[in-house]
């Protein structure tokens, strides 16, 4: 695969993984499955935060991990944007500084203006000087999204970014992701437990169970499958 994300992982312990998946530029791939299926581990493995036994992780022309050729780039050398479940913002820095810190690839003088632009893009203008402790859950997650974009990533990984916010905030964050999806020409992976959410946002779905992709395809097709009904909805 020349463009997009191409992942093949094999791992026996501590979490068994045996999966292959790909995500084209501009595609939003929803990753669903029961707890412990390996969804978060998959994202962490792509970002280089989880050591892998075998397989490869490639994005566009870059190879980030390839067991066969001994390539294994450190996380800071992979151009990955990762939004963590609990935002993981730097508590001692303001929203602007959080975003600017991820702009090491730009000259220092330009970082603040670029960070402010990104915060405007996620509708946080006026809150640049606030620290995470002075922001709401939804605002923190927006800063986390802006920080992930600040890296100018080749792939955007979202690890249940709406799980720690209330229903109203969740709806507005979903709208934010949909808006980003329209404007970003990179592969995006969204891990979620929320079936409605993935149906609304994703172009395609991978259903994970026990570290294996059981089903993959269009949301309407995958979610109607009896296996998905059983694994995701707990029916049958």
């Amino acid at each position: 695969m020349a463009d997009g994300l191409d992942v093949q992982l094999r791992e026996t312990a501590p979490i068994p993984l045996e999966l292959e998946l790909s995500c084209a530029p501009g595609e939003l791939l929803g990753v669903v499955g029961p707890s412990g299926a390996g969804k978060t581990t998959l994202l962490r493995a792509i970002a280089g935060l989880h050591p892998l036994g075998a397989g490869h992780v490639r994005c566009g022309d870059s190879t980030w991990f390839d067991k066969a050729s001994g390539v294994n780039l450190a996380p800071h050398r992979r151009r990955v944007g990762l939004v963590f479940q609990e935002h993981a913002l730097f508590p001692h820095l303001t929203a602007l500084q959080n975003v600017a810190l991820a702009m090491g690839h730009h000259p220092k003088a330009e970082r603040a203006a670029r960070a402010a632009e990104l915060l405007t893009r996620v509708h946080l203008q006026g809150l640049e000087g606030r620290k995470p402790s002075a922001l709401s859950g939804g605002q923190r997650q927006r800063v986390a999204i802006a920080r992930a974009l600040a890296r100018e990533p080749q792939v955007l990984l979202l690890d249940e970014p709406f799980s720690a916010v209330d229903r109203r905030t969740r709806a507005s964050l979903q709208a934010q992701i949909a808006e980003l999806h329209q404007g970003l020409a990179i592969p995006m992976l969204l891990v979620t437990h929320d079936v409605e959410e993935v149906e609304r946002l994703a172009d395609s779905i991978a259903l994970l169970d026990n570290g294996v992709v059981r089903l993959a395809g269009a949301p309407s097709q995958v979610l109607r499958d009896p296996l998905a009904q059983r694994l995701v909805f707990g029916e049958g």
């Binding site: 935060l49 800071h76 990762l82 993981a88």
Partner: protein
């Protein structure tokens, strides 16, 4: 007031803190973040000076540094004087004796970093070295400050190990705490009282400074 002893105490406290801060920081960070073989044993060794009688530790260090030991013999050949009963020997003993006071607050501070901030820094493009300076150290700063204050104040007041390894040589290894003991033995209660008050003041000021700074940093990040 024994000003020579005061100067030795200050010099010893400053040097101990200067050696232990970087060394302790490295050890604390390793214990907090890395897989360490025989971790329990390493942590027990670091904490041992907290419960070990100072005379016992002093005895072992004296044995290790004495002229008859390989280390003592090499030192004497290199520098022309024995390691035991010298300022350098006293400093080595002080560094070992203060290990838990430096390592433990910093280790706890690193362990208390919010979940995922380090991975978040890495995926934001920060190298481990940049992550240390831009994220870990600013967040673990109260622990580093506590470590400095505790090490400094504890060295100023240490008695047993200093007596065993240093031998109370005026101007070289006699610290203020030893001088208080000497003056008390000589029934010079006035001098002993003044020096005790100085040690009390230094201890209280050092601890208060650490607590104050820790509180400020905590509020700033809260």
């Amino acid at each position: 007031m024994d000003w020579d002893a005061f100067a030795v105490s200050l010099k010893l406290a400053a040097w101990t803190a200067a050696v232990l801060l970087p060394a302790g920081l490295l050890l604390a960070r390793t214990l907090a973040f890395r897989r360490v073989p025989a971790r329990g044993l390493v942590e027990a060794l670091v904490a041992a000076p907290l419960v070990l009688p100072p005379t016992v530790l002093g005895f072992y260090l004296l044995t290790l540094m004495g002229g008859a030991s390989p280390l003592g013999a090499v030192w004497t050949r290199l520098f022309g004087h024995p390691l035991a009963f010298s300022f350098e020997g006293l400093l080595a003993a002080s560094v070992i004796f203060n290990l838990p006071f430096a390592v433990q607050p910093m280790q706890r501070a690193f362990e208390a970093l919010p979940t995922d901030v380090r991975p978040a820094a890495w995926v934001s493009g920060l190298s481990p070295w940049r992550t240390f300076w831009a994220v870990e150290l600013p967040l673990a700063w109260p622990g580093v400050l506590s470590a400095f204050a505790l090490t400094f104040a504890h060295t100023m007041g240490e008695f047993g190990v200093v007596l065993m390894v240093g031998g109370s040589i005026p101007g070289e290894t006699r610290t203020l705490a030893l001088s208080v003991y000497d003056r008390t033995q000589a029934f010079d209660t006035q001098a002993a009282g003044v020096m005790s008050a100085v040690l009390l003041g230094v201890s209280v000021v050092a601890i208060a400074a650490a607590y104050g700074a820790t509180g400020r940093v905590g509020r700033r990040h809260g």
